[in-house]
């Protein structure tokens, strides 16, 4: 019996290592490439690296324009997250605590907003943004990213605010708390962890967005993902630098991973599947 168990455990770990390896290897390879100079890259694929060629990171970020793109991405992602969370708190409270006429169709509308292919929206946005002079501005992208982040934040937060007992609100209102007062003093403190996770995921989605940013910005508000996509050029790509910028793009995901991993499935499935 013990032998059988031992075999089973070995088998489990074998599969785990295999799957983890398959998942991690491409990412590992990118990190390795980002540490190599051009000369090292063309001597054939080696699986390990002992030295780091810092210039791959230094030149694009400090000598080239990528530092600015990085700051743009930070501004846009943070601005969008702030706006989305602010709006979503009120909207979610309304959805969670009031019986709203038509909330079913609102749900459907926000879902389709989230699922719509961005490619179908680039032309109207391009023309409208040109007309009202929002092209190549931070504020333009900050507003635009609400299209997918706001529905997402509302439906993720709704599950969390629904879980707060309504009796708390009632006690507060008996004590003479106004509606906004209740929201501020009662709901927000309880919902803080949920808000933090929602904010992180919203932030990552803004950071990750590419298509809208590439069409609606040219220089001033260009984001890092857009810069990364422009690395592949006709005259020959500097693979080391491209890998380095990719690693920079990847960092926020890694930093936030520990916090969001418990909620990521709830978030990506609109709260339909809870972990």
């Amino acid at each position: 019996m013990r032998d059988k168990k031992k075999i089973k455990i070995t088998f489990i770990y074998l599969i785990c290592i295999l799957l983890a390896g398959a998942t991690l290897f491409p990412i590992y390879w990118m990190v390795i490439v980002s540490m190599r100079s051009k000369l090292e890259l063309f001597t054939g694929p080696k699986l390990y690296q002992t030295s780091i060629f810092v210039n791959n990171y230094y030149r694009p970020l400090f000598k080239d324009i990528y530092g600015k793109f990085l700051i743009n991405s930070l501004i846009i992602a943070t601005g969008n997250t702030g706006l989305v969370i602010f709006l979503a708190i009120f909207a979610t409270y309304a959805f969670s605590r009031f019986k709203i006429w038509g909330s079913e169709s609102l749900f459907f509308w926000t879902i389709t907003n989230r699922m719509a292919p961005p490619a179908a929206f680039i032309l109207p946005f391009f023309l409208i943004f040109t007309k009202i002079k929002l092209i190549d501005t931070h504020i333009g992208l900050i507003l635009l990213y609400c299209i997918f982040n706001l529905p997402f934040a509302i439906w993720l937060l709704k599950g969390m605010i629904d879980a707060i007992p309504k009796e708390l609100d009632e006690v507060a209102s008996i004590d003479g708390c106004s509606m906004l007062g209740t929201l501020w003093h009662i709901i927000l403190p309880v919902a803080k962890p949920g808000l933090a996770v929602t904010a992180m995921m919203t932030w990552i989605f803004s950071w990750n967005e590419y298509l809208f940013a590439s069409v609606l910005t040219s220089m001033n508000a260009r984001t890092i993902t857009t810069g990364l996509a422009e690395f592949v050029t006709v005259i020959g790509t500097n693979w080391g630098e491209m890998a380095a910028v990719s690693v920079v793009c990847l960092l926020p995901a890694v930093i936030f991973l520990g916090y969001i991993q418990r909620y990521i499935i709830t978030g990506l499935t609109f709260g339909a599947v809870k972990e």
Binding site: C16, L24, W29, A91, P117, A119, I122, Y210, A229, L268
Partner: protein
């Protein structure tokens, strides 16, 4: 009761205003544009064309081709991801030390920017420096996704499977661990073997979760853009030119705004119909499972 409705709408107002301007206005505008012949390089400017664009669209073999490969892509990736994800999820119901670390590793691809995923696979498949061509060359296979259409298509399939199988796995695992214990204990008492338990208890209970997951996967795969754009740019030829890429090329490269709009409208129409259908199917199966 009246005042509470006012309060609710007051709370919702800012959200609705924003979603109106960035969701509804562009939507109506693109429908409007789709009724015109409009290319910025044309001297005639905007010319009203009625439904001409849509008539042309229905007989446009290149658009139908991109729809076709798009659907093929959806069917192949989603079925492989579901099967693979289901097997791994069932495997992960075993308890073992280090499971948390393994789950964290699986979560990683889900948080990475799609454009970075594309760049990761550019580095993996590049004929000069990538390990994949190097290894395949040892087996006598010439691997170059810049030239070989079939290889390009299946590399994109492989990339999508690599990217999204963890999502399927973790979603189904969340479903599997949320089940009530009674039916499984009853099955054990009745002497059902593992396969029978899986077939007659686990899978039926899991159906709503599988459908929800499939809904999200189908919609996301159908509109895939970033990764493919980065990896192949839709090429070689039209081998990986999925609908999103086709629309973007039509609008940005050919600047054919009127025709591009009609493609967009058609895509949005498909999206709405698919959302409506799939959400209805999900809510019906949910009810059925609850009634049992």
């Amino acid at each position: 009761m009246r005042t509470s409705q006012y309060k609710a709408w007051g709370l919702l107002a800012p959200t609705l205003v924003i979603l109106f301007f960035i969701g509804l206005v562009p939507f109506l505008y693109v429908i409007y544009l789709s009724l015109f012949k409009y290319n910025i390089w044309s001297v005639r400017g905007m010319v009203f064309a009625g439904v001409d664009n849509f008539r042309k669209l229905m007989f446009d073999s290149s658009f139908m081709h991109s729809l076709g490969i798009g659907l093929t892509f959806v069917v192949i990736t989603c079925s492989i991801e579901t099967l693979l994800g289901l097997v791994i999820a069932i495997f992960l119901t075993n308890e073992f030390v280090g499971k948390g670390v393994f789950r964290t590793i699986l979560t990683l691809p889900l948080a990475i920017a799609p454009i970075t995923i594309g760049s990761i696979w550019v580095l993996m498949t590049n004929p000069d420096i990538g390990p994949l061509p190097y290894i395949l060359h040892k087996f006598g296979i010439d691997y170059n996704i810049g030239v070989n259409a079939k290889q390009a298509f299946f590399t994109v399939v492989f990339m999508d499977i690599w990217h999204w199988t963890p999502f399927v796995t973790l979603t189904l695992l969340a479903g599997l661990t949320s089940f009530p214990k009674e039916p499984f204990e009853a099955a054990k008492v009745d002497g059902a073997n593992k396969w029978q338990t899986l077939r007659y208890i686990t899978l039926p209970l899991l159906t709503p979760v599988i459908l929800t997951m499939l809904f999200i996967r189908v919609m996301d795969t159908f509109r895939i853009f970033d990764e493919v754009w980065m990896l192949t740019g839709g090429g070689p030829g039209t081998a990986t030119r999925f609908v999103s890429i086709d629309v973007v090329r039509r609008v940005l490269v050919s600047t054919d705004y009127g025709y591009g709009s009609s493609m967009s409208v058609f895509l949005l129409y498909l999206t709405i119909v698919m959302c409506w259908l799939l959400l209805n199917i999900i809510s019906i199966t949910r009810k059925e499972v609850h009634e049992r």
